[in-house]
C-alpha cells in the first residue's frame, strides 16, 4: 500500500460501532483505492488513551481517530451545542444535525488543525437508577448521579441532585455498592456498560447527547495524490454520519429491549423540553451554556438557532 492509515479509537473491537462502522469504512477505503490505502485499526485505546486521541492525530501518533469532542474541553464549544437537551431525538437524526452544522460551515473553524471525515452523535441520554423512580424534577433531589458532561452536571445541580464525576467503566461497581444512585447514559451505554444488571428504573427524558468526530491528520491528507484524496472524500460526510447514527440507534434498541425483557420500570417523558415540569430547568441550562459562549464572543445563539431548525428537518428525513 502507498499509504497506511493508523486509525485509533476507544471502543472495544467487539462493539458494533467498531465492526459495523469503522471496520466497514476501512474496508471501503481500501477497496475504493484498490489497496493503495491500507487502514490499520487500533480499537480499545490501544494506540492512544481517550483524552489525548485528538492530540494524537494532530501529532500523527495516529493518522485517524474517532473520539469525543468533549474530552478536550472548550475546544469545540460550538459543535457541542448539539449536546444540549432538545436537539438530538435519535442518533441518526442527531448525526444529521451535527454533520449539517459542519457542512454549512458553522462549526468548521473548530477543526482547523485536522481533516474531519465525518461527525456523529449517540442517541438521547436518559436517567437510569437503582431504586428511585424519576417522574418529576423533585424526584431527583438527594440522588447521586454520575454525570457524563459538564452541561449535565449543571443540569443535575439545578435539579437538586449531586453530580458525581467518575470514569464511565467505574459506574458499574459504584452503582453496585451504592456510591451512586444512578447514571445518565443513552441505552447504548446501558448496554455496553451492563447497567441493566443494576438499574431497575429508567426515565427516558433526553437530557443530553455526546458528539463524536472521525478525523484525519491534515498533513497526511494533504500529502495524498488527488485520486486518493477523492477516495477519502467519497467516504466522508453525511452518508457516513447517518450510517454511524443508525448503528447507535440499533444498539440503543438492544439496550432498551434488555430492560423490557428484564421487566424494568421504564418511564417515558415525551418532549421533556416542552414538558412544563422540566422545561424551566432545561431552558435555564441551555440559556446558561449559550450566554457563556456569547460572552466569549462566539455566535452561539446563531448556531443554536440553526441546530433547532436542522433538528426538525433531520427528524422529518429519518
Amino acid at each position: 500500500a502507498d499509504y497506511t492509515l493508523r486509525f485509533a479509537h476507544f471502543w472495544p473491537s467487539v462493539s458494533p460501532i467498531h465492526k459495523e462502522v469503522f471496520q466497514k469504512w476501512a474496508d471501503q477505503v481500501e477497496a475504493d483505492s484498490d489497496g493503495r490505502i491500507e487502514v490499520e485499526i487500533y480499537p480499545g485505546s490501544t494506540l492512544s488513551k481517550p483524552p489525548a486521541q485528538y492530540e494524537a492525530v494532530i501529532n500523527r501518533i495516529a493518522d485517524v481517530t474517532a473520539t469525543v469532542q468533549g474530552y478536550t474541553a472548550n475546544r469545540f464549544p460550538l459543535t457541542q451545542i448539539v449536546e444540549l437537551p432538545g436537539i438530538v431525538k435519535s442518533a441518526e437524526q442527531g448525526s444529521c444535525v451535527i454533520q449539517g452544522l459542519y457542512d454549512e460551515g458553522l462549526t468548521t473553524a473548530e477543526y482547523d488543525e485536522t481533516h474531519p471525515v465525518f461527525l456523529f452523535t449517540h442517541g438521547q441520554g436518559h436517567l437510569h437508577t437503582t431504586d428511585a423512580e424519576i417522574r418529576k424534577p423533585s424526584d431527583l433531589e438527594g440522588l447521586r448521579i454520575r454525570r457524563p458532561t459538564q452541561v449535565v452536571a449543571s443540569l443535575l445541580e439545578r435539579l437538586g441532585a449531586a453530580p458525581v464525576g467518575m470514569p464511565a467503566p467505574e459506574s458499574y461497581q459504584s452503582m453496585q455498592r451504592g456510591v451512586i444512585d444512578g447514571v445518565a447514559l443513552p441505552w447504548e451505554g446501558v448496554h455496553s456498560f451492563r447497567i441493566n444488571e443494576l438499574a431497575n428504573n429508567h426515565t427516558e427524558i433526553g437530557l443530553y447527547s455526546l458528539s463524536f468526530v472521525v478525523t484525519m491528520n491534515k498533513q497526511v491528507y494533504n500529502s495524498m495524490p488527488e485520486d486518493l484524496q477523492q477516495v477519502i472524500d467519497d467516504n466522508s460526510g453525511m452518508a457516513m454520519a447517518t450510517a454511524a447514527g443508525e448503528m447507535f440507534d440499533e444498539v440503543d434498541a438492544m439496550g432498551r429491549q434488555d430492560a423490557v425483557d428484564a421487566g424494568h420500570n421504564i418511564i417515558t417523558l415525551e418532549n421533556a423540553t416542552e414538558n412544563e415540569a422540566w422545561k424551566p430547568v432545561l431552558d435555564a441550562t441551555i440559556e446558561g451554556y449559550l450566554q457563556d459562549l456569547e460572552d466569549k464572543g462566539m455566535p452561539a445563539r446563531k448556531v443554536y438557532q440553526r441546530a433547532v431548525e436542522l433538528s426538525e428537518q433531520c427528524q422529518q428525513q429519518s
Partner: protein, 428 residues
C-alpha cells in the same frame, strides 16, 4: 524491515539495555522511542514522549498508588505494622514462616480493595518486607512472597482486569467477579502451600517462631487491632457504598495518619513520610511511564496481531488452541503490561476460544491468571521491579529466584482451573 521485525529487534534492544544496567524505565522509554520512530516517524515518536507521561500522570486510576504507599509508610512509622506482624507471629506460633503466611493473607485481603497488583505489591511490601528481613527470613523468600502475593490483587474482586474483560467480551460483570473469587482464594492457598513446602525443604529460609500458648495468642490478637481496624474501615466503606475502591486509598492513608498522630507523629515525621512516599512513587511512576512509551511502540509493531494470526493459521484442536493461546499470553506477558495485553489480545483470541466451545466466563479467569503470571516472570516482571524499588541490598535475580516456586504454584492453579471448570463457574 517489516513492523514485526522492528518490533522483535526493539524488544531485544530493551532486554540488552536492561542487562547492561540501564534503569528499567530508561530502557523501556529508549527502545520504545527508537522502535516508534523506525515504524512511524521521528516527529510522532517525539510526540509519544509528551503524550505518554501526560496520559500516565493524569490517569485517575493511578491516583491510589501514592496513597497506598503513604499509608504503608505511615503504618510502619507509627509502629502499626510492627504490632501487626508481632501479633501474627504469636498467633502462628511455631508454624513455619508465620510472617510469610501473614503477608500472603494480608495481600489477599488487600486485593479485595485494590484492583491492581502493582498497588498491592507496593503497599504490602512497604509494611511486610522490613518485618520479614528483621526476623531473618531469606531475601528470596521474603520478596518472592510479596511479588506473588501482589498478583492476587488482579483476580480477587474488585478487579480492573476482570471488569475490562467483561466489558470487552460482553459478559456480566457480576458473574465475572463471582467467578474470580474461588480461583483467587485457591491462589492464596496454593501460595501458602508453596511457602510451607519451601521452608520444610530448606529450613534455613525462615527462622522458626517460638511456640506460643493459647493465652499468648489471644493477647497477640490485640496487636492486630489497629491495622485491621483500618482494613475494616476501608473494606466496610467500599461494600457499604460510601466510597469507591479508587477513593479508598486516600481514606486509608488518612485513617493511618490519624492513628500515627495519636501515637505522637508530628509535622516533622509526616514530612519525612511524604519524602519517602515521593521517592518510591517516583521510582514506580518512572517505570510506568517507560512502560507506557514502550506500549505505544508495541501497539504499532502489531506483534500481538501477528502472533494471534499465526496461532489461528495452525488449525488446531480445541485444547491445543487453548494451550497455544495461553503460551502466547505467557510469552507476551514477559515484555508487556498485563492490562495492555488484555486489551490488545482478548478481542482477537476471544472468537477463537468461543468457536472452540469454551465457556467465556471461565476463559476470562484463565486468561487473567495467565496474563498476571507475566507480572512475576522474567525478564520484565512489573511486580518484581516494584519490589526492587523497596530494597537496596537485594538483587533482581534474587527476587526472580524467590518468585519461582510461586510461578510453579500458579501453573498448578491454572491446571486445576482448566481441569475443573466448577472452581470458576460453581458460584454462578
Amino acid at each position: 524491515m517489516s513492523s514485526a521485525a522492528i518490533g522483535f529487534s526493539c524488544i531485544g534492544l530493551m532486554l540488552v539495555l536492561m542487562a547492561i544496567r540501564i534503569p528499567i524505565a530508561l530502557a523501556m522509554a529508549t527502545s520504545g522511542f527508537v522502535g516508534f520512530s523506525l515504524i512511524v516517524a521521528f516527529d510522532p515518536a517525539l510526540a509519544i514522549l509528551e503524550n505518554g507521561p501526560f496520559e500516565v500522570l493524569t490517569n485517575y486510576n493511578f491516583t491510589p498508588i501514592p496513597m497506598f504507599i503513604l499509608m504503608g509508610i505511615l503504618a510502619s512509622k507509627s509502629k502499626m505494622s510492627d504490632q501487626l506482624f508481632g501479633g501474627a507471629r504469636t498467633l502462628f506460633g511455631s508454624w513455619p514462616a508465620g510472617i510469610s503466611l501473614a503477608s500472603l493473607l494480608s495481600c489477599g485481603i488487600f486485593s479485595a480493595i485494590s484492583g491492581s497488583s502493582v498497588a498491592t505489591a507496593a503497599s504490602m511490601s512497604r509494611v511486610a518486607l522490613p518485618e520479614m528481613r528483621k526476623h531473618g527470613y531469606a531475601a528470596s523468600l521474603a520478596t518472592g512472597t510479596l511479588a506473588a502475593g501482589g498478583t492476587l490483587g488482579i483476580i480477587i474482586p474488585p478487579s480492573i482486569a476482570l471488569l475490562l474483560y467483561a466489558l470487552i467480551t460482553e459478559q456480566s460483570v457480576g458473574d465475572m467477579f463471582m467467578a474470580g473469587l474461588l480461583p483467587g482464594i485457591l491462589g492464596l492457598v496454593l501460595y501458602a502451600l508453596a511457602v510451607v513446602i519451601q521452608v520444610k525443604l530448606k529450613p534455613g529460609l525462615a527462622t522458626p517462631g517460638e511456640p506460643t500458648t493459647l493465652r499468648e495468642k489471644l493477647v497477640g490478637l490485640k496487636g492486630l487491632l489497629p491495622f485491621t481496624g483500618v482494613f475494616v474501615v476501608i473494606i466496610g466503606g467500599i461494600y457499604m457504598g460510601i466510597f469507591t475502591p479508587t477513593e479508598a486509598a486516600a481514606v486509608g492513608a488518612f485513617c493511618t495518619l490519624m492513628i500515627a498522630v495519636k501515637r505522637g507523629m508530628r509535622l516533622e515525621g509526616f514530612v519525612a513520610a511524604l519524602k519517602e512516599t515521593l521517592i518510591t512513587s517516583s521510582m514506580i511512576f518512572f517505570m510506568i511511564i517507560g512502560a507506557e512509551i514502550f506500549g505505544f511502540f508495541l501497539s504499532v509493531s502489531r506483534i500481538s496481531f501477528e502472533l494471534v494470526d499465526f496461532v489461528n493459521s495452525l488449525d488446531l484442536s480445541p485444547y491445543m488452541i487453548l494451550f497455544s493461546v495461553l503460551v502466547l499470553f505467557m510469552l507476551l506477558g514477559c515484555v508487556m503490561d498485563s492490562i495492555a495485553m488484555l486489551l490488545l489480545t482478548v478481542p482477537v483470541v476471544f472468537p477463537l476460544i468461543q468457536a472452540a466451545g469454551f465457556d467465556p466466563v471461565w476463559f476470562g479467569v484463565v486468561a487473567v491468571i495467565t496474563v498476571e503470571l507475566g507480572m512475576i516472570t522474567p525478564p520484565v516482571g512489573m511486580n518484581v521491579f516494584v519490589i526492587k524499588a523497596f530494597t537496596h541490598d537485594i538483587s533482581i535475580g534474587t527476587i526472580f529466584r524467590g518468585v519461582f516456586p510461586f510461578v510453579l504454584s500458579d501453573l498448578v492453579r491454572l491446571a486445576l482451573i482448566i481441569a475443573f471448570p466448577v472452581l470458576t463457574l460453581g458460584l454462578l
